[in-house]
């Protein structure tokens, strides 16, 4: 009951016209930076940070949070329309979103992305409201061995993305893991595989790799006649723009499951929205009735990662507000902002600043409604992009990719890197080496290696640490099951067949 009273109070705070305006600006701006290739929520929050200085802390954080979950939806727009992930959490959305667009179902994909995002976001806000302090205690039980187990679980999803030739898929993943080792070694501070360039010290950024392998490679390989996606005028009616009943039937269960996964993984510091969208996609593929069709354009392949990344963005607020521990790059900047406001995130925040916490929760309900209206109204507009003649679209997209990669670190080096990965992506596509495993492995690889080495230091070199701790042991158990599940399934099927015969 107390929670509901608090919520009503929070909604009244959020309904203040000034706060509503900040919320709307945040959501709008977030969608924009999310959709622009290269720029993600972290960049968006950093840019608008100075604007919040003049405001009171509540309005400020309402806007920054709006940018965060707005960007999670925005990223799906370019993923679906031009195969270029707008930010790292949207990479998985390209896998089925773009094939859907090629089939002429871009509108339904965009609509589903919006609904999935909003459902995922809203459920997460509810979970946040009731459970935040309790959940935070669970999040800190995740130490290095648990992260290692989680990364192994993430890697098992690669098995589902290897395409026509499994060996080539695994090579792609292994090379991705190798790319993750580039840069200064966290433990000893020595540069590895940087070829003397200081620009590689921080490692290969995920965004240039993803934009090159997906976005540029698509421009390079598409032939003008084959890639044209025509949207007929008569198709742009409201009913046809929204996901059909059948789409919902396929997606709904995945949305709920992915929301749970996303919220939970988002809560873990360091894992975040990108990894949660990977794992959700993998789980959706494993549990879907039409798992084999994933990657060829199924609607639940869009719904699952989109629900997941929005849920993760709310989940990341749990450790930030209750522990003062940022769960991702974006929340790290928000934490910095809170400190500039003179607030001190931590266990006492809920007691000392209830107006702040509940105002934020209230605003997230309202923000998600804004996001839905915005998304639905904008779908017909976005669809028009597909009617732009291919040469013009390619040229403009290319300029956005290059300027986006520049603004990542304000460095021309990243522009060169993006072009290089574009060329690599071209040859990979031609030779049937799938790109998704490489990108996935790159993201997981960094945490995989550090958590492995941290665990081994803690245990004094004893690998049993991964199995004796209950949480990491059970995650590893699930991973092993996930690897052998297809084999077992086959064995059972062949057994049943032999009995039938």
């Amino acid at each position: 009951m107390e929670t509901l009273q608090n919520l009503l109070y929070g909604l009244s705070v959020a309904n203040d016209p000034m706060n509503l305006l900040y919320c709307l600006v945040g959501v709008l701006f977030g969608t924009l930076v999310g959709a622009l290739p290269g720029l993600g929520p972290a960049a968006g929050i950093a840019v608008l940070l100075p604007l919040t200085f003049g405001a009171n802390p509540i309005s400020g954080i309402i806007m920054l949070t709006g940018i965060y979950y707005g960007a999670m939806y925005g990223g799906s727009i370019t993923s679906i329309l031009i195969n270029t992930p707008g930010d790292s959490a949207a990479v998985m959305t390209t896998l089925d979103g773009y094939p859907l667009a090629k089939k002429g179902r871009a509108a339904q994909a965009l609509g589903m992305a919006a609904f999935a995002s909003i459902i995922g976001g809203t459920i997460s806000v509810i979970a946040f409201m009731f459970l935040a302090p309790a959940l935070a205690i669970f999040a800190i039980r995740f130490g290095p061995p648990e992260y290692f187990a989680l990364m192994i679980l993430g890697l098992t999803t690669i098995a589902g993305m290897t395409g026509k030739y499994p060996s080539k898929g695994f090579i792609s993943a292994l090379v991705g893991l190798f790319f993750a080792t580039v840069g200064l070694d966290l433990m000893q501070g020595i540069p590895r595989f940087t070829f003397g360039s200081v620009h590689l010290y921080e490692g290969l950024d995920f965004i240039p790799v993803a934009m090159g392998l997906f976005g540029i490679a698509e421009i390079l390989t598409c032939k003008t006649d084959e890639c044209a996606i025509k949207i007929e005028k008569k198709d742009v009616t409201w009913r046809k723009l929204l996901p059909s009943k059948e789409d919902w039937k396929y997606s709904l269960a995945h949305i709920f499951r992915s929301t749970g996964i996303g919220f939970f993984i988002g809560m873990l510091p360091g894992a975040g929205a990108t990894i949660s969208s990977f794992i959700s996609y993998g789980v959706a593929k494993k549990t879907s009735k039409r798992g084999e069709e994933f990657g060829k354009g199924v609607i639940e392949g869009v719904a699952a990662p989109e629900a997941s990344n929005n849920a993760a963005s709310i989940g990341a607020l749990v450790p930030m507000l209750t522990l003062g521990v940022p769960g991702s790059g974006s929340t790290a900047i928000m934490l910095g902002a809170l400190m500039m406001f003179g607030l001190r995130p931590g266990p006492m925040l809920f007691e000392h600043n209830p107006d702040f916490v509940w105002g934020l929760i209230g605003s997230m309900y309202i923000g998600n409604i804004f996001l839905l209206i915005l998304a639905i109204l904008a779908v017909p507009l976005f669809i028009k992009i597909l009617n732009v003649p291919r040469p013009i679209l390619n040229a403009t997209v290319m300029s956005f990719i290059l300027i986006g990669s520049y603004s990542l670190n304000n460095s021309m080096f990243d522009v060169g890197l993006t072009i290089g990965f574009g060329a690599l992506g071209f040859f990979m596509k031609k030779m049937d080496y799938p790109a998704a495993p490489m990108v996935l492995a790159l993201v997981l690889g960094i945490l995989l290696e550090t958590s492995l080495r941290q665990s081994m230091i803690i245990s004094g070199g004893n690998p049993m640490i991964f199995f004796t701790r209950p949480v990491s042991g059970s995650i590893l158990g699930i991973s092993i099951l996930a690897i052998f599940y297809p084999l077992i399934k086959k064995a059972i099927q062949s057994y049943q067949k032999s009995r039938m015969a």
Binding site: G189, Y201, G324, V325, G346
Partner: protein, 331 residues
């Protein structure tokens, strides 16, 4: 209709382009005339990503300057992360030598970078403008830990080598150096576990994945207040003030280790004395404002104003100290 919109767009585009050209033509002039310095906006390079300690420090400082109108021209903050800061610092020191409009800030990798061969520029390539405060470092355990004092913890470490583990940010940092010198001075054998940043270190301490860990007071204060973390020692020369005044220093406890990060403003080498004086004054005025003092106090930093000359000497001392400890660490 369609024709009309296209027309409008063209006209808009031309107008936009025109204003751009006019707006930018004034900025191209070289900064020669000293008398009316500053005559264009300053660029403040934060060589780290947004949201970190250096970023919050700089953004708050520039906000204080803007709010109090202490600079006639705006200070534009630009993040140039990468290479543990070396990309940003070499941009300032190498690419803008003698340019009084390029400013930056210092952190521990400002000193460790050139020493370990990661950075092409060292403190010698900069004009030191002003140091504003030092960031102490805390040694903490979880509130559930059985160790009430540092003495207890180190006694256990002595009795059981390789049992106690510590969490800190990266293997080449103030945390690591403090750890290794503590290990050396207490004649113990412990395990240092490097993490990616303060948030991860906090999780490791609170979840008791490691026995103890290192955090800045601004990161740890909320948890200390809520009784989730227990501070055992602080790395400053004297005890910090305010809420954290009960924490003993390592020196008091018998380990002569002082390791705190100075925060200040630097510019490329080759600035004229007038320019240095101007900048010194501007930042000193900012540091005297109540807003700045509140920020420093809220984040448990210790106000330590050092003008150009003193700051340069301090940098020399810091660099020698890091050099000494880095050879102890053996990396």
């Amino acid at each position: 209709m369609k024709r009309n919109t296209r027309w409008m767009a063209m006209v808009m585009a031309c107008l936009f382009a025109l204003t751009t050209v006019v707006g930018c033509s004034g900025k191209a002039d070289a900064p020669q005339a000293q008398a009316n310095y500053p005559e264009k906006p300053f660029e403040m390079i934060v060589p780290m990503g947004a949201g970190g300690g250096s970023d919050v420090f700089i953004r708050t400082l520039t906000k204080v300057i803007a709010d109090n109108k202490l600079s006639p021209k705006p200070i534009v903050v630009v993040n140039k992360p990468g290479g543990s800061g070396s990309i940003g610092w070499s941009y300032v020191a190498n690419d803008h030598k003698g340019d009084p409009y390029e400013l930056s800030t210092v952190s521990s990798s400002f000193y460790t970078g050139p020493l370990s061969g990661q950075s092409p520029v060292s403190y010698k390539d900069f004009t030191h403008i002003i140091a504003l405060c030092v960031d102490p470092n805390l040694l903490l355990v979880s509130a559930d830990s059985k160790y009430q004092t540092l003495a207890e913890l180190l006694a256990d470490a002595k009795a059981n080598p390789e049992k106690i583990s510590a969490a800190g940010s990266s293997g080449l940092s103030v945390d690591a150096i403090t750890f290794y010198s503590l290990q050396e001075k207490s004649d113990t054998k412990m395990k240092y576990v490097p993490f990616g940043g303060g948030g991860e270190v906090m999780t490791a301490i609170m979840g008791q994945h490691t026995t103890f860990g290192f955090l800045g007071p601004s990161e740890a204060a909320a948890q200390i207040e809520a009784g989730k973390l227990r501070p055992l020692a602080v790395t400053t020369e004297k005890r910090v003030s305010g809420e954290l005044k009960d924490i003993p220093t390592l020196k008091e406890l018998g380990y002569d280790i002082v390791m705190a990060q100075t925060r200040g403003i630097v510019a490329p080498s080759g600035l004229s004395a007038d320019n240095v004086k101007y900048l010194e004054d501007m930042f000193a005025k900012a540091a005297a404002t109540p807003e700045w003092k509140k920020f420093v106090a809220d984040n448990f930093m210790e106000e330590t104003i050092m003008m150009s000359e003193e700051f340069t000497k301090e940098s020399e001392t810091m660099s020698t100290m890091f050099e000494k400890y880095l050879s102890v660490v053996g990396k």
